[in-house]
Every structure is written in structure tokens, then in C-alpha cells.
Symmetry: C2
Amino acid sequence: VSEAIMQSHFAELKEALTRELGIASVTVDVGVAESHSGDWSEVAHEKPSLVLFPRTPAQVAAALQILASFGQPAVVQGGLTGLAGGATPRSGEVALSLVKLNQIEEFDRIGGSITAQAGVTLEQLQTHVESEGWFFPLDLGARGSCQIGGNAATNAGGNRVIRYGTMRDLILGIEVALADGRLLTMLNRVTKNTTGIDLKHLFIGAEGTLGVITRVVLKLAPKPVASNTALCALESFEAATRLIKEMLSAFEVMWSDFMTAAIKSGDFKAPFADIHPVYVLVETLGSSPESDSQALEQVLERALEDEIVSDVVVAQSLDDAHRLWEYREAIGELLSRLKPYAAFDVGIPMGSMDRFVASARESLTGIFPNQQHLFFGHIGDGNLHVLSGPYASSAELHRVEEVVYAAVGEVAGCISAEHGIGVVKKEFLHHSRSEDELDLMRSLKTLLDPKLILNRGRVIDTDAASRASSEK
Amino acid sequence: VSEAIMQSHFAELKEALTRELGIASVTVDVGVAESHSGDWSEVAHEKPSLVLFPRTPAQVAAALQILASFGQPAVVQGGLTGLAGGATPRSGEVALSLVKLNQIEEFDRIGGSITAQAGVTLEQLQTHVESEGWFFPLDLGARGSCQIGGNAATNAGGNRVIRYGTMRDLILGIEVALADGRLLTMLNRVTKNTTGIDLKHLFIGAEGTLGVITRVVLKLAPKPVASNTALCALESFEAATRLIKEMLSAFEVMWSDFMTAAIKSGDFKAPFADIHPVYVLVETLGSSPESDSQALEQVLERALEDEIVSDVVVAQSLDDAHRLWEYREAIGELLSRLKPYAAFDVGIPMGSMDRFVASARESLTGIFPNQQHLFFGHIGDGNLHVLSGPYASSAELHRVEEVVYAAVGEVAGCISAEHGIGVVKKEFLHHSRSEDELDLMRSLKTLLDPKLILNRGRVIDTDAASRASSEK
């Protein structure tokens, strides 16, 4: 395609989009393009040809219809906090930013649900509902920037999954702009709904490949008034699998090497006199300050008696709780020290966790004896983080990824429990999903987005989808 | 099609299926056909032409491949306890029974998950895991007969949805035999899995229209050791919406007319000296007998002080708890007295519940003053049951259905929160789902089952799907 044709294509596209969205919502400004050139991943930034800021769900749908008529691919952007490169533009793409879709539309104070547009930030939503005695349980570090639409598109998890589930479990209804310009409004507000195929699940976790989520109805929980925290020292991971049978809301496991590195990085006081193989940070959320704290102490006393737990520190105040969480949150400091690192958020079946950690540690230490290999995670939901670095080259990084993902496949784990596939993990997806599954994903992509307008080349292989499409 | 051609079609089909499944798994026996001629709904029974009893997931897939090659439609059958007519054969259909797929294959005692074949009964599964200190939270009256595969295909709910979610929330992995004979094995065992489009949700709740669920991996919960029950009397439904903010595992609302009818039907002692507008049966499930019972009493004391609750009976023993549940469980006896009745399991947003109940009661009483109209349900999850009868004719029944479903549509509720669509509610589905949604369901049906082999004419309109398919 010649330069002249491309220029005329973009001029016509811009004109059509401007006619629909208004001049303030379509920009070629270099500064704006720069700030929409990438997400938090390490994927190379690329300035989009145009940046669109639709202000209503109907405008999102109208923009997609225009993009489809021009055969113009677009990348969908929320808070740009993703770690898998899904929102980083590829060459020649238009960026469709949902940042102006930032209205909280309806708060059902009786039923405990809220309808919000995709561009509302997680923190904005949390604060809004907490002021009225309700609670939105999803929580993650990027809360100030990440958006509800992105949380839905990537099925975000975070700290409280064992008690409240992932984003998918918190979504009652959804609205999606399809690639052909239709707006599918499915703003269900009831928990139980068995009226045929539950279409919202096609779009949750699909990372924007099948449609653009424009609005969501979220289920709220009663606001917990009591929170109790304790840090436990254990002699084995097997003991942790017994402790988790207690009903807790957070359950963070840190292996010994992680704790040692965390203490060092933050210059913290060691929590126990001795070093133990495994540490578990537990938290309960409940409705009764007195009886909840008593319940947690009963659980821990029993665990000490049964020799599941070797030692324990129970927080007696909010300050105490904060200090206990500091060990786990040292991860931020550790990340900056280990750069450039390989970071994994894999899902491992609990029964295979111990074996996986031991064998991955052995493999990594064997190949890269001079790097640090740290293991920790929200283990209650099978989500293990591995942090390994620093590495001298991208070839070394790639080697580490191959070693870890192949090991994940061997224990029937999943290569991403949290951050999604995007472009970063696309080549490793076959370790988690069969060829038949990838085929069905491609068929769904072709059914819903035959011109491959939306997030082309993310999650599943676009070329194969194009092939399947052109063979029809 | 002439009789002779039909006879030769069935003879050839039977031969091909017998070759694949073995002679014991393909039968034309009239007694067997009779016992597979319908589910628990009122839909007229119809004997299937053949009954198939595949013994492995691979045999299910192989049978579907043969059926597709013959263009022979089949109805999928589990425990036949459905109330929407989804498993009742239609004329000329083959019945595909999953009753022989009854193996529990793998119990992950560490991670708390279990892999079971579709034909395992709910009760068999519950008993199996409870003997080892784990708990499968799904529970419903048909537990002794209904099967795990059917629970998944219909996204069953039951009594504990507010604490544990519906069947969908308890499913980690799934295996599905597709209409083209492929077996899609997705036996994921981790809670968090963000590796692309989550295909299992296409099949959960699709009532067998997109594939036959052959195996599921279920998430187990720690077994609660403490259960506490109380019956509360309230002056309004609005008070109930305040009580539900407490963290409970069951929350059954019964309006006054239901309680009066229940007491009469079972000749029970009235729970309170006075009659109150609304009653709520609450239950907690927890890990600590002493502190849990104390926590529930604290909650109820506060509710009495705040005048949310007017009166309360707290069960002091298992016998007490059983007696309190008897009021709610009088429904069985009530059903037999009101025959023939209209029974609804609709989903109503909590904020509209009070208004819906008042207006539906007024409409029904206005049109049918001599019938009983009883309101109750698992209100914590928005699931309202309405029981109305007895009726003199099917025309009267249909009139009641129209009145109730139109009213559900007006408050943006859903026409089925529990029993599904099947054939019974198909004509009313447009009250809950838009034309675009129905279109997308038909597109998915056409993509996954182009010859309409599976559960043809259930949930979505087959003719329209045929039309869409032939237009391509």
C-alpha cells in the first residue's frame, strides 16, 4: 500500500470518526498519542495513528462500525496498567480509549449492585460504595489507575479471591459494543439468571478480542466491619494446605527465600526468632469485631496444637496488621532491585504446588545460579508468583520463560492466573490450552469480529484466524 | 418421508451406534424408552426412538459423530428432574442418557477439588467429599436423582447461593462432547485462570444446546462445622433488605400468606404469637461452633434493637433448626394441594421486589380471586418463587404466565432464576433477553451445532436457527 493511499485512508477515517464522535474526541496530537503508546508491560511502545475518546457506549459502537467499514484495526485501552501488552498499540492501529466513559450510573442501595461505565477506576468505585456501607471486594495494587472495563476484560483477581472470587464472579450484567457496531445491552441485576446461554462470559476475560465492554453491573458485598490479620510460620507447604481449610479471606504464602529478601529489601525486623521454610499471612473479614477476632484466635490455637503452625503473630491493632502486610508488599522494592526480571503469575493445582516449587527452584538455580528466584503468592486460589532476575539479555529471559511454562504445562497448571495473555504470553498459550480449544477461540473470534478489528493479534494467533475466515 | 425410509434410517443408525457403543448401550426396549420419556415437568411424555447409554466420554463423542452423520437429533438426559421440559424427548428423537457415566475419577484432597463424570448424582458427590472433611455446597431437593452434568448444563442454584454462588461458580473445569464428535477436554483445576476466552461458560447453563457436558472438575469448600438457624418476623420487606447485609449463608423469605398456608398444610404450631407481614429464615455456616452462634445472636440482637426484626426464634438444637426449616419445606405439601398450579422461579432485582410482589399479588388476585397466590424464595439472590393455583384449564394457566412474565420484564428481572428455559418458557424468553441477544445465541448454536443435533428446539427457537443456518 502506497504512502498516498494510507494518508488518504487515515484522512477519510478521521473525518468519518470526527463526524460521529465530535472534534474533541478524535485526535492525532503527538503528546496524546505518546501517552497512549503502551501499557505497564515491557512491550515496546508504539504511537497509535489516532486516539479516540468516545463519551457514551453508543459512541463506542458507532466508532466500531466506522472502523469496520474502513477495515481499520483498533486497540482497546482502559487504565493501561496491564502487564501482558494487550493494550499497547501495534503499528498502524487506532487507539480506542474508554477513559471518558467514566460515569457511575446507578447505585442500587437496596439490592447491593452498581452500574458503572467501563472507564470508572477501581478506586473511584470502591470509595463510592464504601461511603454508603457497601463493599466492592475486588482489590489490586493498580486500583488508582486501572478501570472497571479493563478489570472485566482481563478477569482481574487480586487479594480476596478465596473469599469473593475473581471479577467474573462479581459481574451481574454487562454491555458490549460488538465489532459490527451493535451494542449488546445485558445489564442484568439479579444473582441467579438461568435464561439461556450466559453471553456475558464470552466477553469477560477475552481481553477485548470479541467486543468492547462499555458498562458493567457489579455485585456488592456487605461491608465487613471486622478485619483480623496474623502471620504464621510453618515447617512445610503441606501444613499450609491444611491451614487453608479454615474460612479466611486472604491467604498469602511466602517461601523462606522470599521472606529473607523482603526483610533485607525493606530493612524490616524479622517476624520470628527462627527462620521457617514457609510463612502464611492470613486475614479474615467479618461482621462482628469481638467474635471474629475470637474465632481467628481459636483457629490459630488449634493449628498450633495440631502442629500445623510452628509460630504465629496475631495483629492487635491496625498498625500491627499493616506491619505484617509489609513483608508481602516488599515486592515493589524487590521488583526494582531485580530488574530486568522474569515475573510469572501462574496457576498451579494445590496438590502439585510443593513439587512444582521445588522442581522450578531447582531448574532455575541450576541454569541461573547467580540470579534470585523468589516464590510467593495468593496460594489459596492456586496463584503462584515467581520472580527471577536480574537477567543479562532477552535470550536469557526467554529461556527462563520456556523452563517455567513447560513445567506449568506438566502439572496441568495455567500459564496465567492473573495478568492475562496479551501479546506477552501468546506463544506459550499452547502449554495451557489444547489445539481444539484454540480452534474454538478462533471460531468465536471469526464469528464476532470477522474483519479482525478488535485487539488483532492478542491472545490468539490472528493469522490463523484470518486463514480460517478466508477459507469460509 | 415414507415409513419405509424412516425404518431403514433407524435400522442403519442403530447398527452404527451398536457397533460403536456395544449392544448393551443401545436399546429400543419399550420399558426403557418409557422410563426415558420425560422429566419432572408437565410437558407431555414422548418415547424416544432409541435410548443410548454411553459408558465413557469418548463414547458420547463417538455417538454424537454418528448422530450428526445421520442428521439425527438427540435429547440429552441426566437425572430427569428438570422442571422446564428440556430433557423430555420430542417426536423422533433419540435419547442420550448419561446415567452410566457415573464415576468419580479424582479427588484432590489437598487442593479441594473433585473430577466427576456427568452422571454422578449430586448426593453421591456430596456424601463422597463430606466423608473426608470437604464440602460441596450446591444443594437442592432433587439431590438424590439429579446429576452433576445436569446441574452444570442448567447452572443449578439451590439454597446456599448467597454464600457459595451457583453451580457455575463451583465449576473449575469441564469436558464437553461437541456436536461434530470432538471431545473438548478442559479439566482445569485452578481457581484463577486467565488464559484467553473461558470456553467452559459457553456450555454451563446452555441446557445442552451447544455440547454435551461429560465431565466436570468441581471446587470444594472447607466443611463447615457450625450451623446456626433462626426464624425472624419482620414488619416489611424493606426491613429484610437491611437484615441481608449481614453475612449469612441462607436467607429464605416467606410472605405472610405463604406462612399461613404452610402452617395449615402441615398442621404446624405457629412460630410467633402474632402474624407478621414477612418472615425470614436465616442460616449461618462457619468454622467455630462457639463464636459462630455468638456472632449470629449479636447480629439478631442488633437487628431487634434497630427494629429491623420484630421477633425472633433462634434454634438451640438440630431438632429446633429442623422445625424452623419445616415451614419453608411445607412447599412440597402445598404443591400437591394446589394442583394444577402455575409455579414461577423468577429473578427480581432486590430494589423492585416489594413493588413486584405487591403488584403481582394484586393482578393475580384481581383476575383469579378464588386461587391461592403464595410468595416466597431464596431472596438473598433475588430468586422469588410464586405459586398460584389451582387452575381449571391450560388457558387459565397460560394467562397467569403471561401476567407474571410481562411484569418480570417491566422490572428488568429474569423469567427464570433456577429451572431454566427448556421448552416450557421458550415463548416467554423475549421478556428477559433482547432480539440481539437471541440472535447471538442462535449464531453460537449454528457455529457449534450446524445440523441442530443437540436438544433441538429447546431454549432458542430452532426454526430461526435453521433459517439462519440455511441462509449462510
